[in-house]
């Protein structure tokens, strides 16, 4: 290609791309020019002078910074000349003049660019004998990161990352000359959600992980490729262990998924692994109390308990609940066990059949980065998927992609230009109808009768036109609109708009749970088989029966809430794996108590586990092998990195033991003895996974194709949404949603992060004033069902007339409030 040019370095001709930076061109030719400030993921700056080389110019040779010099045909450079070497040596000498050289107690020692470059390019001896400057050595930037200003070499990487990627410029370079320091604005905390990436970026030990500090020397660590399971993005991690114990998580580059970034939850929130509260042995209810028993005994009890119910009440009295947080292997085997051995289709997970969501997730994460328009409906990427949010921010800032937001809260992404709507709960369909009408009009298409009355405002017209004209829009909706009362109507209404705009095939759903796509892929749904095949599909059923060696019942089963509700009726036994319905809604307790037999398999003794007849201790995903399918359908492997706690066992292994004992005559179909082998079976059960294997997933994972599952989307009228009545005293509309810093089981176990959570119910300033309430006042939020007491947070980010209670708050689970209108109920708010 004409793009290739020739440059000369130290007399050697090399091929380079026109306009690329000299550092990049040289690296391709095997010349690694040392850098500090330059980083491939950050804009060039030229601040540190480490990369000086000589360049042939019109007036002779001059020193230039290689990291900021784009190359052009015929340019001549000297990297190894005496002057260039001297210059670099000088730079290092000046950096080292005030560097504390406390390598023996520095977390970075052993993987430090300054050490490496001092070895390679340093003078070996210093001209300086003056005392070194002293600055802050132990300066916390937040609860998570600590800065050592003496070790800092002022490369600006941390400053640039926060600005260029997260668009939260919270660090700066203050003062000047030798007084220069990195600092935050006085009185503020570093609270960016992906702040930990600056630890990975810092070339020296100036920024360190406060939670992992002083617990390892880098060279003794074992590295294991894993992924993060805190959200549906599936960011790639490297888990560093010593003595089979996790010491830290760092980001692992995967350009298709997370680039080189992870969020602070993925990096720091791993305390659940070593929590004192982890279950370490099986428990069984003996004389009314949960008491430790052996694994063989526990398995025997589970088998007998389930069999007893099946014999007395039939297989339809048993149900299995899995989890979108657990691996494909675990969920697949639970489904297989229930269908093939117990003989019931009562299987589901919380975000399973109840979610009116696009099962395929989003078109691709790369699409988010390439977008020329961003449409976000009922999702908050900043809180639910911070790394994705960063991609969207970059598209907004660097590609000038307008951002259309439709959300009950003024979410962070509304800071970018575009059109933002904040419909109250219940008003969404009307907005989408208007957008649909405007889109049809913009494309010169007929508007059906049922849309004739929709009112098209100027803003609606603007948003509709933007989408109609977009070439490459990234369009997602989220749980807020797809889960609970009325979601079928809202989802059809928003689908109408996207279809009417001509982008029907780009509408994606943001699955916020790590394996929400995978759990459905492997068929943990009451009416669907693995591979999104209908239960009614006889051919698919027969194939599966061959693979499983048993008949599959044809009658669709009960879903998640159906099973729990029927615990007072026809359901007599439940097997709950990695889910805590009682923690979410305490009134579920009396239902589960009515069961004849309850098995709970979990990391912790959850509220639900406390009611169980048998509690099985599960190993966490870090302590077992497993695959997870992220929100772009990418199947990724997380390899075992740490030793399981106590006697806990991987979920898949527990199920395998139980199945073999449950049906010894079927043992041939339950022989698999490793997670990769279970995955191999999954690839035969799930057509979209055909051809994959544990090995083929490799370091990058493998997505199944968007069109490997056909989905028809049509413009169609839908059932009108009847919003919950606003009547005294229930005069506020409830809104819910996920915040990154929640107080859920896995997160709260990292004690050092406990302060980050912000436990509060939010009100608009006008409403707070109307009720004479102040920030921090204890308020009661009461529905027809229950009441919660929470401190008040006043925020103009929500609409007047609404109260926002985030999910997963400790001792205040918003689920308690849900009545027949689910998360869209109306509530009373008053001083507690």
């Amino acid at each position: 290609m004409s793009d290739w040019i020739t440059i000369t370095i130290d007399g050697k001709e090399i091929q380079a791309r026109r306009g690329e930076l000299l550092t990049e061109a040289a690296a391709r030719a095997g010349i690694h020019i040392p850098v500090f400030c330059s980083h491939p993921k950050l804009d060039p700056l030229g601040a540190c002078r480490m990369c000086l080389v000589e360049m042939e110019g019109r007036r002779g040779k001059m020193l230039v910074t290689a990291c900021t010099t784009p190359v052009n045909d015929g340019m001549v450079f000297y990297y190894n000349s005496e002057r260039a070497r001297d210059a670099r040596q000088g730079t290092l000498e000046v950096i080292l003049a005030n560097h504390p050289l406390d390598c023996p107690i520095c977390d970075k020692g052993g993987e430090c660019d300054l050490q490496d470059q001092a070895m390679e390019h340093g003078p070996g001896k210093s001209h300086y004998w003056e005392p070194k400057r002293h600055k802050e050595k132990n300066y916390p930037l937040s609860d998570l990161i600590v800065l050592d200003q003496e070790r800092c070499i002022l490369c600006w990487r941390c400053i640039r990352y926060l600005d260029e990627w997260e668009d939260k410029p919270q660090l700066g370079l203050f003062h000047r000359g030798s007084d220069s320091v990195i600092d935050k604005f006085p009185g503020t905390e570093l609270d960016a959600y992906t702040s930990g990436n600056i630890i990975d970026l810092c070339p020296v030990g100036a920024l360190t992980n406060r939670l992992a500090r002083f617990q390892f020397r880098p060279w003794v660590l074992e590295h294991t490729n894993s992924i993060c399971t805190h959200c549906g993005m599936g960011c790639n991690l490297r888990i560093d262990t010593r003595d089979f114990r996790v010491r830290r998580n760092v980001a692992r580059e995967n350009m298709a998924v997370n680039d080189a970034w992870i969020c602070d939850k993925g990096r720091f929130a791993n305390g659940f692994l070593f929590s004192e509260k982890r279950l370490t042995q099986p428990l069984a209810r003996i004389d009314g109390e949960l008491q430790p028993i052996s694994w063989p005994e526990a398995i025997q009890r589970v088998v007998e308990g389930l069999k007893g119910v099946v014999e007395k009440e039939g297989p339809g009295a048993v149900g299995g609940i899995g989890s979108a947080k657990l691996s494909n292997e675990a969920n697949y085997l639970l489904g297989k066990f229930m269908r093939a051995l117990v003989g019931t289709n009562n299987i589901d997970f919380r975000e399973g059949s109840a979610l009116k969501a696009e099962r395929r997730g989003v078109t691709s994460l790369q699409d988010a980065r390439d977008a020329d328009l961003i449409v976000i409906m009922g999702a908050d990427p900043s809180e639910e998927m911070p790394v994705l949010a960063n991609f969207l921010k970059r598209a907004a800032r660097r590609r000038n992609a307008p951002v259309i937001v439709i959300h009950p809260r003024r979410i962070e992404l509304t800071k970018y230009p575009g059109v933002h709507f904040h419909p109250l709960p219940g008003d969404e369909p009307a907005l989408f109808d208007a957008l649909t009408k405007a889109a049809l009009q913009a494309r010169g298409q007929a508007v059906p009768n049922w849309l004739a009355d929709a009112e098209v405002s100027d803003e609606v017209k603007e948003a509709a036109t933007l989408l109609v004209n977009a070439q490459n829009p990234f369009i997602i909706y989220g749980t807020d609109y797809a889960w609970g009362y009325g979601s079928a109507s809202i989802v059809q209404a928003l689908t109408n708009w996207i279809v009417a705009s001509g982008h029907g095939d780009r509408l994606g759903f943001l699955h916020s749970q790590a394996n929400a796509v995978g759990a459905a892929d492997v068929g943990l749904l009451p009416d669907m088989l693995p591979g999104h095949q209908r239960l009614a599909d006889e051919l698919a059923r027969m194939e599966l029966e061959k693979l499983w060696g048993s008949k599959i019942p044809t009658q669709p089963g009960l879903g998640y809430s159906g099973m729990i509700a029927s615990a007072l009726g026809r359901i007599k036994a439940l097997y709950i794996m990695g889910a805590d319905p009682v923690g979410e809604k305490s009134s579920y307790a009396e239902k589960l108590e009515a069961l004849d037999f309850l098995v709970v398999q979990d990391l912790f003794l959850t509220e639900t586990a406390k009611l169980a007849d048998v509690v099985l201790p599960a190993a966490s995903y870090v302590e077992s092998n497993g695959t997870f399918t992220n929100t772009e359908r990418r199947v990724q492997a997380a390899a075992q990195a740490a030793r399981a706690v106590g006697d806990s066992l991987p979920d898949w292994a527990i199920l395998m033991h139980i199945a073999r004992r449950y049906a010894p005559d079927q043992a041939d179909f339950w022989r698999t003895s490793s997670a990769p082998a279970v995955f191999a079976e999954i690839t035969r059960a799930v057509p979209q996974y055909a051809g994959m294997s544990w090995e083929s997933l490799g370091e990058r994972g493998q997505p199944w194709a968007w069109d490997a599952l056909e989905v028809t989307r049509e413009l169609a009228p839908y059932a009108k949404l009847e919003p919950a009545p606003l009547e005294k005293p229930f005069t506020f509309r409830l809104i819910t949603g996920n915040l990154l810093w929640d107080e859920g089981n896995t997160f709260a176990a990292t004690e050092r992060m406990a302060n980050l959570g912000h436990k509060a119910a939010w009100l608009h300033p006008d409403d707070a004033a109307g009720l004479d309430l102040r920030e921090g006042d204890l308020i009661a939020v009461r529905s027809r069902e229950a009441s919660l007491e929470l401190p008040l947070h006043i925020s103009s980010r929500i609409q007047p007339g609404t109260v926002f209670v985030p999910f997963s708050l400790k001792d205040a689970p918003v689920g308690e409030l849900f009545d027949e209108f689910g998360p869209r109920t109306t509530v009373a708010v008053y001083r507690a």
């Binding site: 600005d163 410029p169 919270q170 660090l171 700066g172 370079l173 203050f174 003062h175 000047r176 600092d183 935050k184 604005f185 006085p186 009185g187 503020t188």
Partner: protein, 164 residues
Amino acid sequence: MTSDQTLALEPDQERALQTLMRRYRGRGQSALLPMLHEVQAITGWVDEPTARAVAHTLGIPEIEVHNVLTFYTLFYTEPVGKRVIRVCNDIACVLAGNGELIQRLAEELGVDPETGGTSADSRFTLELHPCLGHCERAPFLMLDEEPMGPVAPDQVPDLLGGVS
């Protein structure tokens, strides 16, 4: 480094500041330096809330304002006297005997001659500076923006007394 104190402004200063803020609204990064000069001319020094207000007025990150405030020594992030005396403490002035001048100034103001400081009545701040670029007038000082030199120690009382 940065003061925990905040500005206590007179009503007319407050008004002047508000007018200034209106004038600079939304003008972005390039207006930062001129704006800070104007702000400081009204307030004497720039406290945290004012720095924040400047950022919000211009529509730029707070951190940028702080970068600039701490980079230029002509900006103050701590209370300073009504008038600032900057005495040169560089080689030409040292050779011309600025030691006595500094000593005298420090005595009159009751501050440390090694570091300078602000007089108890907040009327003056004494600062020691690297070369002020008027070596031919050594020992040299600047009273606010006004260059003076050579200055003899016994001129100090007049100098201080002549200032309102």
